[in-house]
C-alpha cells in the first residue's frame, strides 16, 4: 500500500451545470454570508459557498430564545433574519466575488410574487452562480411552509421562479411531508435544475422548570447529527424519484457522514450545524474524503455517487 505512489483522486463534481472543486459546501443559514468563517477556513477550498436565505425586504427574525441544544442536535427558530436581497447584492457579494468558488444564493419569499421578485433581482448579478430556493423553512408562519408541503403550491411557485431566472435553480425541500417523492417530482417538473434536502425537521423542547417552550417561537427546526438517518432515507427516496441531481443535507459532520449521502446518490452535500461545532469542519471533510478515495482505490469521486448496493 504505502509503496504505491498515491494518485490524487479526482474530486470535482457537476451539479446543475456548476462545476464544483469538490462536493462539499455549507448549508444556508449556518455559514452567514461566508465572511464570518473566512478567518477559519479558506473559502477557495470549498465546492461552493451557500449564503444565508435572502428575502425581498430585510427581515428582523424571531424573538429570543432562538436556539436550543438537544440530544446530538439543535433547534433553531431564527426566523430567517437577513439584510434583504438588495443590501446583500450591494454589500455582501463583492466580498464573495474575490474567491474562486461558486456562490449559491439561498432565498425565500412570503408570497409567490416575492419569490419571483427576489429571483429576478439576483438574476443579473455577476458572481451569483446559482439560486437555492427555500420552500421549506418551518420557522416563518407565512413563509415557505405552505409551498414546501403542498405539491401543487410547490409546482406553481417553482414554475414562476423558473420564468424569472436564467441562473441554475436548486429547490430545497422540506422533510416534513408524508411522501417527499411527490414534492420532489413537482419541483423537477416545474423546472428545478437540482434539488437539495433536507431542511430542518420541525421540533420542540420544553423547559420543565419554567414549563415554557425553550424557543420563543415554541416550535423550531431540528438539525445536527441526530437527524442524519432521516435525511439519508429522504435523499435515497428522492434520488430514485427524479432525474435532476440531488444535494444531500442533514447532520453531516465527518467525511463518513458525507459518504453515506454520496453513496445513496447525492451529487454533492451541504454541511450545516457542524460548522458551529468546528469552523474547520468542511476542510477536514474534504481532506478525509480524498483520503478515503485514496485508501479505497477510487480514482474519481463520481464513481462513489449512487454506488449503493441493494
Amino acid at each position: 500500500m504505502s509503496e504505491n505512489k498515491k494518485i490524487q483522486p479526482q474530486m470535482s463534481v457537476e451539479v446543475a451545470g456548476l462545476k464544483l472543486k469538490n462536493p462539499i459546501m455549507p448549508a444556508s443559514g449556518t455559514f452567514g454570508y461566508g465572511e464570518e468563517y473566512a478567518p477559519y477556513l479558506d473559502l477557495n477550498q470549498l465546492g461552493a459557498v451557500v449564503t444565508k436565505g435572502m428575502s425581498l425586504n430585510p427581515k428582523a427574525g424571531n424573538n429570543t430564545p432562538r436556539i436550543c441544544e438537544t440530544v446530538s442536535g439543535m433547534l433553531n427558530a431564527i426566523g430567517l433574519q437577513n439584510v434583504g436581497v438588495d443590501a446583500f447584492i450591494k454589500h455582501k457579494m463583492a466580498y464573495l466575488e474575490q474567491y474562486d468558488t461558486p456562490v449559491i444564493v439561498n432565498f425565500f419569499g412570503n408570497t409567490q410574487d416575492e419569490y419571483g421578485e427576489v429571483a429576478a433581482r439576483l438574476d443579473d448579478v455577476p458572481g451569483v452562480s446559482a439560486l437555492e430556493m427555500n420552500i421549506s423553512c418551518p420557522n416563518v408562519k407565512h413563509g415557505g411552509i405552505v409551498f414546501g408541503t403542498d405539491p401543487a403550491a410547490a409546482f406553481e411557485v417553482v414554475s414562476l421562479v423558473r420564468k424569472r431566472t436564467s441562473k441554475p435553480l436548486i429547490v430545497k425541500l422540506t422533510p416534513n411531508v408524508t411522501d417527499i417523492q411527490i414534492t420532489a417530482r413537482a419541483a423537477e417538473e416545474a423546472g428545478a435544475d437540482a434539488l437539495s434536502l433536507i431542511n430542518t425537521l420541525t421540533g420542540m423542547a420544553v423547559d420543565v422548570k419554567t414549563r415554557k417552550p425553550r424557543l420563543a417561537n415554541t416550535i423550531g427546526g431540528l438539525s445536527g447529527p441526530a437527524i442524519r438517518p432521516i435525511a439519508v432515507r429522504l435523499v435515497h427516496q428522492v434520488v430514485q424519484a427524479v432525474k435532476v441531481p440531488v444535494i444531500g443535507i442533514g447532520g453531516i459532520s465527518r467525511a463518513m457522514d458525507a459518504l453515506e449521502f454520496l453513496i445513496v446518490g447525492a451529487k454533492a452535500v451541504q454541511v450545516g450545524t457542524a460548522n458551529f461545532v468546528d469552523p474547520n469542519a468542511m476542510a477536514t471533510i474534504i481532506a478525509d474524503l480524498e483520503q478515503f478515495c485514496c485508501e479505497e482505490g477510487i480514482a474519481d469521486i463520481n464513481e462513489l455517487i449512487g454506488s449503493l448496493e441493494l
Binding site: G29, T30, F31, G32, E36, Y37, P39, Y40, K52, A60, G61, N63, T64, P65, R66, I67, C68, E69, V71, S72, G73, M74, N76, I78, Q81, A205, D207, K209, T210, K212, R214, A216, G224, P225, T273, N275, F276, V277, D278, P279, N280
Partner: protein, 284 residues
C-alpha cells in the same frame, strides 16, 4: 480569531461549584481584550454538540521551560457547573485535548484615564472584569463591588486585591460581607463618586437594576451580556439581543457574539430586554 486545538493545563475547584481552568493558548496574550470570550469545545466527541461560551478571566505566560524557548501562553477561564457541558468540563484533567475558538466579540472600552471606575460583578459575572481591572489600575482608581447569593459565589477576591482594586463584598444571605444586594452598595458608591463610570457583568436581574440606577443618574455604563450561542462568530444569528430603538414594528437585533458581549447601555433596548431574557432560563 482562530480555532486552536490545545490542552488543559489545570482545572481546579476554587469554591463549591466553581472551577478555574488553565488552557494552553498560543497567541492570546497579545490579542485577547478585556471582555472577550472563547467558544470552548468540551471534547472531540459528542456530547455536548455545541461549544460553550466562556469569558476570558486572564491571559499570561507560563514560566519558560528553558531560556532559548519562547514562553508559552495560557488563558484562564472560570466556570460554574450548571448543566451537561460544564459537568463534563469538571472532569477534565491536565493534558486533556480541548479546542478554543477566539478571542471573540467586542470587549470593554477602557474609558478615560484618571476617571473613577466602578466594576460590578455578580457571581460568575466577575470573570470578564479581571482583565479589565488589570488594564484600568494602570491609570485609574478601580473599585469592585462583588455580589452573590452566598459566600460560595464570591470568587477571586484576592486576585483583584492583588491588582490594587478596592473590593466590596455583599451577599444576599449575609454569609460574607454586607447582607443584601450589590446594587445597594452601588448606589452608595455612586453617591460618593458621582462621576464614576460603571462596568457590570452578572445575572440579568442585576444588570437591569444596575442599568436603572445608572440611567437615573446619567452614569456611563457598559454591560457584558450572556446569550445562548451556537457559532460565536455572527453566522447563526441565535444570540441576538434587542437593540436601542427596537420595537415589534421595527425590530432591531444585535448579535451578542459580534456586537457584544459588552454593550454600552445606550445601545440596548431595556424595556423589552428584561421580559425577554428572563424567559430564557438556559437550555438544558
Amino acid at each position: 480569531m482562530k480555532n486552536i486545538k490545545t490542552i488543559v493545563l489545570s482545572n481546579q475547584e476554587i469554591s463549591p461549584g466553581y472551577f478555574r481552568m488553565k488552557i494552553l493558548s498560543p497567541g492570546y496574550c497579545e490579542s485577547a481584550q478585556p471582555g472577550q470570550f472563547v467558544m470552548f469545545r468540551v471534547q472531540r466527541s459528542l456530547p455536548p454538540l455545541l461549544r460553550r461560551p466562556f469569558g476570558i478571566f486572564r491571559a499570561g505566560f507560563l514560566p519558560a521551560d528553558c531560556d532559548d524557548m519562547p514562553a508559552k501562553e495560557f488563558i484562564e477561564i472560570i466556570y460554574k457547573v450548571v448543566g451537561s457541558g460544564t459537568e463534563i468540563m469538571e472532569g477534565l484533567h491536565h493534558g486533556d485535548p480541548v479546542e478554543l475558538l477566539g478571542p471573540l466579540g467586542e470587549g470593554f472600552d477602557l474609558g478615560a484615564p484618571e476617571e473613577e471606575k466602578i466594576l460590578v460583578g455578580g457571581g460568575i459575572g466577575l470573570v470578564p472584569l479581571y482583565m479589565l481591572a488589570e488594564k484600568m489600575v494602570e491609570n485609574s482608581k478601580v473599585r469592585l463591588l462583588m455580589g452573590g447569593r452566598t459566600r460560595d459565589d464570591i470568587i477571586t477576591v484576592t486576585e483583584f486585591e492583588r491588582l490594587g482594586v478596592e473590593t466590596y463584598v455583599s451577599t444576599e444571605d449575609g454569609s460574607l460581607g454586607e447582607e443584601g444586594l450589590v446594587t445597594r452598595v452601588l448606589e452608595r458608591k455612586l453617591d460618593k463618586y458621582p462621576n464614576a463610570a460603571v462596568f457590570a457583568c452578572g445575572p440579568m436581574p442585576m444588570i437591569e437594576a444596575v442599568q436603572k440606577i445608572c440611567d437615573s443618574r446619567g452614569t456611563s455604563l457598559q454591560v457584558s451580556l450572556e446569550a445562548l450561542m451556537a457559532c460565536g462568530v455572527g453566522a447563526c444569528l441565535g444570540c441576538v439581543v434587542k437593540g436601542e430603538g427596537h420595537s415589534d414594528a421595527e425590530p432591531r437585533y444585535l448579535c451578542t457574539c459580534t456586537s457584544g458581549p459588552v454593550f454600552r447601555a445606550e445601545e440596548l433596548n431595556w424595556e423589552k430586554e428584561a421580559a425577554n431574557n428572563s424567559e430564557c432560563g438556559g437550555c438544558k
